[in-house]
Structures are given as structure tokens and as C-alpha cells.
């Protein structure tokens, strides 16, 4: 790639972004509840903003806080974690472990000067397509208020 093209590509995308900020959200969904809930929302044609990129994981307990930090470091505007309701975990307590990690991580982000609202934890069961839809909508609105991640790279 020549120096000239390298320069023009990001500035173009910057112009595009100036018009309207569309957050990029990484959504970790557990296989047993929220991923099925997201699927239900899709098959029932519920409307939600298309900003979330869903990553399926077996259980929210599998999420290393490192994944969340890495996503933010790579420029994600927000990270949504969606799992089974407390007590409903397919593996009995994975979601409760995530809840403990989540509160500590949130405090860590706050102390480091990063808006803790960029990460969010929600519960949505396989039957709750509407809850999942609402969660994603609320997340997108929240991130739009906070603004883009300063580390965000060109589109």
C-alpha cells in the first residue's frame, strides 16, 4: 500500500463517522440461554439495532475478563455480556462467577479512567427474545451517549 492510499482511507471513514456514530458492540452470549434468546428474537422478527456482534460461548463463566479488556483495547465501543438468569445456569454457577468478575472489572475500569458503562451484564433466558432485544437497544443508546471508544480504528 502506498503512503497516499494509507492516508486517504481513514480520513474518508472519518467523514462517514462524523455524520452519525454507530457503536460497535461485542456481545458475548451463552449458548444455553441468551444465544437461543437472540435466535428467538431473530425468528420472531423482533426489531433491534444491528450494532451488536454476537460471539457464542458455552457459558458466561467461560469469559475471561481478558476477553473484555482485549475487545476494548482493540476498539470495541461497548461489550455486552448476556447469560442465563441466576440459578438457571446450565453448569449450575457459571453466571454467578461471571457476576463476581464483572463487578470487580467494572471498578477496575472506573479507577483506570475508562467509562465503566461501556461494559454491561444482563440476563436473558432462551424464551426471552424481547428481553434480549431490549437489552441490546438500551446498550446501543447508552454507548451512543458515551461516544466512540478513543481507541477505535477506521471502519
Amino acid at each position: 500500500m502506498t503512503a497516499a492510499t494509507q492516508k486517504t482511507v481513514p480520513s474518508k471513514s472519518k467523514k462517514k463517522r462524523k455524520g452519525k456514530f454507530e457503536p460497535r458492540i461485542v456481545a458475548f452470549c451463552c449458548n444455553w440461554c441468551s444465544y437461543a434468546g437472540a435466535d428467538l428474537a431473530g425468528t420472531s422478527r423482533m426489531q433491534m439495532p444491528p450494532n451488536a456482534r454476537i460471539i457464542r460461548i458455552n457459558c458466561t463463566g467461560r469469559i475471561d475478563p481478558l476477553f473484555i479488556l482485549d475487545a476494548l483495547y482493540q476498539g470495541a465501543d461497548g461489550v455486552l455480556i448476556s447469560g442465563c438468569h441466576p440459578g438457571d445456569c446450565h453448569y449450575t454457577s457459571g453466571n454467578l462467577k461471571m457476576r463476581g468478575r464483572f463487578v470487580l472489572l467494572k471498578k477496575l475500569l472506573e479507577d483506570a479512567g475508562i467509562d465503566p458503562e461501556r461494559i454491561h451484564l444482563q440476563w436473558a433466558s432462551a424464551a426471552e427474545g424481547d428481553v434480549f432485544t431490549k437489552g441490546v437497544t438500551a446498550m446501543v443508546e447508552r454507548i451512543k451517549k458515551i461516544g466512540p471508544n478513543p481507541l477505535r480504528k477506521g471502519d
Binding site: 479488556l69 463487578v103 470487580l104 478513543p150
Partner: protein, 303 residues
């Protein structure tokens, strides 16, 4: 032939030198193998002596401390140019050290706190004369220049440094172990199910039993096993000063991950148990954490 060796101190407490000298009589086994060409802590060479050496003329260069001043950056770059094998010696050099915790604030705030608002200051002014200037934030040395060998520790034990030097002198590789402090710890462990976290001054630590099991934040599980579990062996919780094992990229993230699994507490209680998570989880390696890097990148963008 004796190998030429240089030891340099950047911003640090010089504790690594102290630890090396603690070898006492065993130093006699190593010293005949070495020709010291630069070591300000012990030998009277000046900076220009180091600068005048030809490039790649030092066999082993050990760099201790991190770059808080521009002078440190200069020294580090010279050491890289003059050394064939550059060793990042100690946690400051490998991860940024305790001073890396300052990356939570901007340089301006730090200078004001230290030189203008400190309680004992009578003549508040930020010193400018005869100084090389400060770096904006601490960046671990391996991210600034290419480093050949990493030896973390605060300080690395005398034996760690001896082992590393012996390996390098005999042309053997020196790799960091994948094990943790827990693997070296003699305490008896049980199924972990922590109901409450205590500070070290609260209650008494029962000897012989895992300190984490007793509700004290002992970071042995996420810390590289190089020290021989010195602290837990004498009933003191591990502070994680040696940093994480090589496979772990973020010390604090690993600690949080493990705490989430072993703590049987309400989320709010858990959050309140650690009033200063950055200080508790990233004692010597905040500068190499994702959080600090994010802020560092933002700083670059603001300019």
C-alpha cells in the same frame, strides 16, 4: 575468556543490585568469568565510558528500572546498542514496576502532587534546571527496545540472577517457568469457598494453611513461580511482585477471573472488599496492563 558485562540502573530502587550482591561468597564463583565494564552502583565508570564503547561490544547487558526520565530512555537505547544480549532485570524493567501505578494519572497531575502539593513542601516549584525531563507515562522496557532475556522479580532472588547469568555465560537458553507461586508453596490447600476477604492486619493468619483459603488476598495463583514462595512460606500473602507467568498477558484480569471463581460472596460485598483494585492486582505490572496501554494510547491521540 572473561565475558564483558554491563549493569545499568534506570528509575528504580537499585534493589536488584542489592539482591545480586547478597550472593556473598558465591560471587567468587561468577566474578572471574566476568569483566565489568559499567556498573554505577559498584564501579566508578561514568556514562561517557559506556557511550565510547563500540556497538555490540558488551556480551551481557543487564538493565534494571524503568524509563521515568528522558535520561533513562537515553541509557536504555545506549545499552541496547552496546549489548549483544540485553536482559530486562527485575519487575521494573520487565513490566514497568511500582512506578507504573503512576500511569493512572497524567504527568501534570503527578508533578503537581509531588512538587507543589506535597504536605512537606515549603518552596513549591517544579524543578526544571539541569534535568533531562520526564516521560509522559511509564512504558515497559521490552516495548521500547528489543530485549533478549526477561527476568522479573522485585527483586529477582540472588539465585534467580545467578541462574540467569550462569545460563547466559554457558550459552544455554534461559526460559521463564510456566508454574506459579502456588506450585512452590508448602501450605495445605482445601476446596476454596471464600465468604469474606480480610486485610492483612485483621485477625491472625494460621500457619500451615493456604492463606487464600483463610480469606486473605494472596496472589500466588496468578504469579510466576520464580521466588520459591518466599512470602507465603512465612505466612505473608503474595503481592504478585514477580508478575504473571509468561502465558498470562494481563495479571489483573487473571486475578479477577480466579477471584470470581473462588469467592462465594454477594457481588457488592466482593466489590467493597477491594477498595483499590489497581494497587492490589497490579502491584508491579500496571504499566504492562491493557488498562494502562489504553490510557497511554489515548494520551498519544490527544497531542
Amino acid at each position: 575468556m572473561a565475558k564483558r558485562i554491563a549493569l545499568t540502573q534506570l528509575s528504580s530502587c537499585w534493589g536488584c543490585d542489592q539482591s545480586l550482591i547478597d550472593l556473598h561468597l558465591r560471587l567468587l564463583d561468577v566474578l572471574p568469568e566476568l569483566e565489568i565494564v559499567y556498573w554505577p552502583a559498584v564501579v566508578d565508570y561514568k556514562l561517557h565510558d559506556l557511550e565510547n564503547l563500540p556497538d555490540n561490544s558488551i556480551h551481557i547487558g543487564l538493565v534494571e528500572g524503568s524509563c521515568r526520565t528522558k535520561e533513562d530512555m537515553h541509557l536504555l537505547e545506549i545499552m541496547r546498542a552496546k549489548s549483544k544480549i540485553l536482559v530486562a532485570w527485575g519487575s521494573c524493567s520487565v513490566f514497568g514496576g511500582v512506578q507504573g501505578l503512576a500511569n493512572q494519572w497524567d504527568l501534570k497531575e503527578l508533578l503537581e502532587r509531588k512538587y507543589m502539593k506535597a504536605e512537606t513542601v515549603t518552596d513549591p516549584r517544579i524543578p526544571k534546571e539541569n534535568l533531562s525531563g520526564f516521560t509522559e507515562h511509564i512504558v515497559p522496557n521490552p516495548e521500547l527496545v528489543e530485549v533478549d532475556v526477561l527476568l522479573p522479580g522485585c527483586p529477582p532472588t540472588s539465585d534467580n540472577t545467578l541462574d540467569a547469568l550462569t545460563a547466559l555465560l554457558t550459552n544455554k537458553p534461559f526460559d521463564l517457568p510456566a508454574k506459579t507461586v502456588c506450585d512452590q508453596c508448602p501450605m495445605e490447600r482445601e476446596e476454596k469457598n471464600i465468604k469474606q476477604f480480610k486485610r492483612t492486619h485483621e485477625g491472625k493468619i494460621e500457619p500451615g494453611k493456604c492463606i487464600l483459603d483463610q480469606g486473605y488476598l494472596c496472589l500466588g495463583f496468578a504469579t510466576i513461580g520464580l521466588c520459591g514462595a518466599q512470602c507465603p512460606t512465612v505466612n505473608t500473602p503474595c503481592k504478585g511482585c514477580f508478575g504473571p507467568p509468561p502465558a498470562v498477558t494481563d495479571h489483573g484480569a487473571k486475578i479477577i477471573s480466579a477471584l470470581g471463581a473462588v469467592a462465594d460472596m454477594d457481588p457488592e460485598e466482593l466489590q467493597n472488599a477491594f477498595p483499590d483494585p489497581i494497587g492490589s492486582f497490579y502491584f508491579t505490572d500496571y504499566a504492562s496492563s491493557y488498562l494502562s496501554k489504553m490510557r497511554g494510547k489515548n494520551r498519544g491521540k490527544k497531542k
